[in-house]
Amino acid sequence: MAIHKGRGFACINYPIGMNLGGDPSQALVHSTPDGKFMVSLSSIDLGQGMKSVTRQIAAETLGVPVSDVYVDTADSDTGPHCMGSFASRGTHRVGNAVIRAATEARKALLEAAAEELEVNATDLETDGQGNIQVKGAPGRTITVADTAIAAQFKQGRTLSGRGIFLIPPSDVDPDTGEMTPVSCFAHAALVVDLEVDDETGEVSVTEINSAYEVGRALNPRLVEQQLIGGAWMGVSHALYETTEPYYPDRSHGPVDFNTYLMPGPGEVVNHNIAVLERPAEDAPFGGKGPGEMCANPVLPAIANAVYNAVGVRCDTLPITPEKVLRGILANGGARPQGAR
């Protein structure tokens, strides 16, 4: 009886934002009386950071500090239409809608500032710190706040913008499957190291080394949070989770967290991540949604590592100790496939 080390690899790509339904999202941006900006959406923040990312996108596009931007969302009376937060479409669809809305609002902002400074709007630039200045003449400047006040109370302008992003529905050919399925693809590759106990059949994942290509990490901390959480979910899917342990038989279905197994904090795996960024041309600042794809490569990499460790192919998920032991038994003992 022994502990066998195994190493497995998998790589994937992931479609970002489905085009097949014609699923629009809208955004509205307007300035508040004190020169801050409000982004109105009806998109849902599931904890992934939708509100944070759209806030950063709005601030960057407007050319104002992120602290001057607020996101108001998830009320169907005040936010314009959004299909929802699914299919890795939040950052892509809503982000693009916010860019368009913030672009229009920026135009109004610069035109109002131009009137105050008595210059042409095309000669103005924002410094990202809350000021608008004449290009090449840093002395001639006005704050965004003063501009907003002048626009509203003196010039009678709104500093606001509208945005919608829609990719029209793509037909699918019944005979060939031809379609324009998605907007862009994220990528990942990873190596899983694990140990298999040939007495208990238990699998312990010890380390993951990964590379995730996400277009652009719009917020690196949120990306990190997604990738670490996603890898945890991948381990959980591979080794623990099922609502029907004897599928297709429906018996013994779990009804609570005592019987629905998931790894706890103690089983969070050491994970060394490299983030690659190859911006996608139609994505906001090139960013692809990292959230959905990050669990996917973990499942097959674990299955491949189990085979490497003890020579058992577990082609049915989850890879329970029972399946590993039955596989070892069928093979007449563990058959390590060699160090990698």
């Binding site: 690899f9 790589c11 599931l46 950063q56 990528h187 990873l190």
Partner: protein, 614 residues
């Protein structure tokens, strides 16, 4: 411990990293509320006189409802209202009817037949949740138990019980034509015959629960203006709103939906069941009503990630190149479609994974069985097939005796390659991910594999669409009459050919409706990315290509052949962002195309064209 590094050295010449806010680790604005327990969830919107709704559920996999006796339940303490199927104004729906996909097939509350354990047949609204539970237990339902089917392949057999009468063949109807979605690219039989090895495998993805800490729920209440407010845990506000309006046959403007902090979604909060039930309760009682799944309902009645079964067959050359690959996939949708039909389309567009394979075919089935309907979960339509593909790649590597990472790099898709769904690959990075994972783990690959790049080596003949073999096997209803094979290309029915190079029009984003919404590419963080190969049929209908950012150059006139140039080799990064990008030339005037705001017509004043007056 975990670590994160950002490999800014890779693809550096395609990015401008000098942005003000993008790329910064800004702390989320709502974090303080989350960590101090003050963020409001839907369940925090408690009302005076809040009523509670619970469902009476089927104990059988499949049964006809002879009668429902609620007389005892109605007399139970605290019971305000018993809700039956006849109380639902428009009691038949399918979720994706909002995007016009599929037939209405699922009742909010059943009255004729149950098709899975847990299907609701009645609901009780009571003063307390406990009273509602007690009254549910007092409802007597007389069932005639029917034979059931739980395995998707058994469900395809001619004698299998009919799960869902709207789809009497136990499969979702694709395009009013086939009982599955086909993908056909090249000639897989020819590919297999040229191969040195055939590698086959079968893979099974388990049903998995989204497992949010906050179970699905909603609180609805009448507003004073003849409207109803609904606080909900939904992931998709207008999806749930639209579904509620349809089921309750109510103008959507009479509904005010408020979402917000969600206690975990992962795909399980799109199905829009709790919202119509709670609003229906508020309509029927005139009082605020809460409907929330308990943990057992969340796990066994709430739709999980569905089970998937996959069979893959590869024809492989001695050197590891995959010459042909076929897929046969079965999505176990459970008793109703929910979103499974859509996931199969997404999956078909994803096949064969991130690899360039000259001959590919797949048949993917959305199969109805007598189990809890399946729905979306993180990676929907992709997680299961990726598990199959990547396990299979290791079997191929073992068969040909190659390092598994090198096998992936050898077969990886690259910029300019034609994908089986007949669109060119662009912006690819699989090879670089493989190389970095190899470096980080110390799992060595050959010098040749380490030299490869996603930017080069694609395109050319790899951009061609081959002549493709099609077939008409699996027409709707055919499988019900006779047992026919499920694999692609099998069976005796007529074969067809689609000529090489055949490709339709790629779909691109609708252009900004107003020129004020068109972004300045220089501010969007892109550097001179390789120009995407032009595709036939691309429609330059706006001053700037709709994809806006990287290639501000006008789309060249259309060419007959796709002729994608391989991406130019990497060049040293330009010293400054491309501010000097020349103004995009106006798109050629196309009288046959609908005139839209923002398009400048030659010779017409800008004011009349609808452009903003400066």
């Amino acid at each position: 411990m975990s670590s994160v590094e950002f490999r800014k050295d890779l693809f550096a010449d395609e990015r401008d990293d000098n942005l003000q806010e993008i790329g910064k680790p800004t702390r989320r604005q709502d974090i303080l509320g989350h960590v101090t327990g003050r963020s409001p969830y839907y369940d925090d919107h408690l009302f005076d006189g809040l009523l509670h709704m619970r469902c009476v559920r089927s104990p059988h996999h499949h049964a006809r409802i002879r009668s429902i006796d609620t007389s005892q339940a109605e007399r139970m303490p605290g019971v305000v209202r018993v809700v039956l199927a006849r109380d639902v104004p428009n009691n038949l729906n399918t979720l994706l009817s909002l995007i016009n996909f599929g037939k209405d097939e699922e009742k909010l509350i059943q009255d004729t037949k149950v098709a899975y354990v847990g299907e609701p047949v009645a609901a009780i609204i009571a003063e307390t949740e406990g009273q509602a539970r007690d009254a549910c237990a007092a409802v007597r339902v007389d069932y005639e138990v029917l034979p059931h089917v739980l395995d998707p392949e058994a469900s395809l057999k001619p004698d299998a019980p009919v799960v869902n009468e709207i789809y009497p063949n136990n499969t979702f109807d694709y395009h009013d034509l086939y009982d599955h979605q086909k993908l056909r690219f090249g000639d897989v039989e020819k590919g297999f015959s040229e191969a040195d090895h055939i590698v086959e495998g079968e893979y099974q993805m388990s049903p998995i629960e989204q497992a949010p800490i906050e179970t699905c729920g909603a609180i609805a209440a009448p507003e004073t203006n003849d409207r109803f407010v609904c606080y909900t845990s939904t992931q998709a506000l207008f999806f749930s709103l639209g579904t509620t309006a349809k089921l309750l046959n109510m103008a959507s403007s009479r509904l005010h939906f408020v979402g917000g902090t969600v206690g975990g979604g992962f795909g399980g909060k799109v199905d829009s069941i709790v919202e119509p039930l709670s609003v229906l309760g508020a309509v029927l009682t005139g009082r605020p009503v809460k409907f929330m799944w308990d943990r057992a309902e969340e796990m066994q009645v709430g739709a999980p990630r569905g089970a998937e079964r996959w069979r893959i067959k590869d024809g492989v050359a001695r050197d590891g190149r995959i010459l042909a690959r076929t897929f046969t996939g079965f999505f176990d949708a459970g008793a109703y479609t929910r979103l499974s039909s859509y996931a199969i389309i997404k999956c078909t567009g994803h096949i064969p994974g991130p690899y360039s394979i000259p001959n590919v075919a797949s048949n993917v089935y959305c199969v109805f069985t007598n189990r809890t309907p399946a729905t979306a979960m993180r990676g929907f339509g992709i997680t299961g097939v990726d598990f199959a593909i990547e396990c299979h790649m290791d079997k191929v590597a073992e068969t040909v005796g190659l390092n598994p990472i090198e096998l992936r790099i050898l077969n990886a898709y690259r910029d300019g390659d034609m994908k089986p769904h007949r669109r060119l690959a662009k912006n690819t990075a699989l090879i670089e991910c493989c190389q970095v994972a190899s470096q980080k783990s110390g799992w060595a690959i050959s010098a040749d594999a380490a030299r490869q790049s996603s930017l080069t080596g694609g395109g050319g003949s790899r951009a061609d669409i081959p002549e493709s073999i099609t077939d008409s096997v699996g027409r709707i209803g055919e499988r019900r009459r006779t047992d026919i094979p499920t694999e692609p290309g099998m069976g005796a029915a007529s074969r067809g050919r689609v000529a090489a190079g055949t490709q339709g029009i790629p779909i691109v984003a609708a252009a900004p409706q107003d020129e004020d919404m068109i972004t300045d590419p220089a501010r969007m963080g892109f550097r001179h990315a390789p120009v995407a190969p032009s595709q036939p049929g691309a429609t330059p209908s706006s001053p700037v290509p709709p994809s806006a950012a990287p290639s501000a150059a006008p789309v060249p006139p259309q060419q007959n052949a796709p002729a994608p140039q391989p991406a130019p080799p990497q060049q040293p990064a330009a010293p400054q962002p491309p501010q000097a990008t020349p103004d995009p030339a106006p798109a050629p005037y196309k009288p046959e195309q609908p005139f839209s705001r923002g398009v400048k017509r030659p010779g017409v004043s800008r004011f009349l064209s609808g452009s903003r007056r400066r």
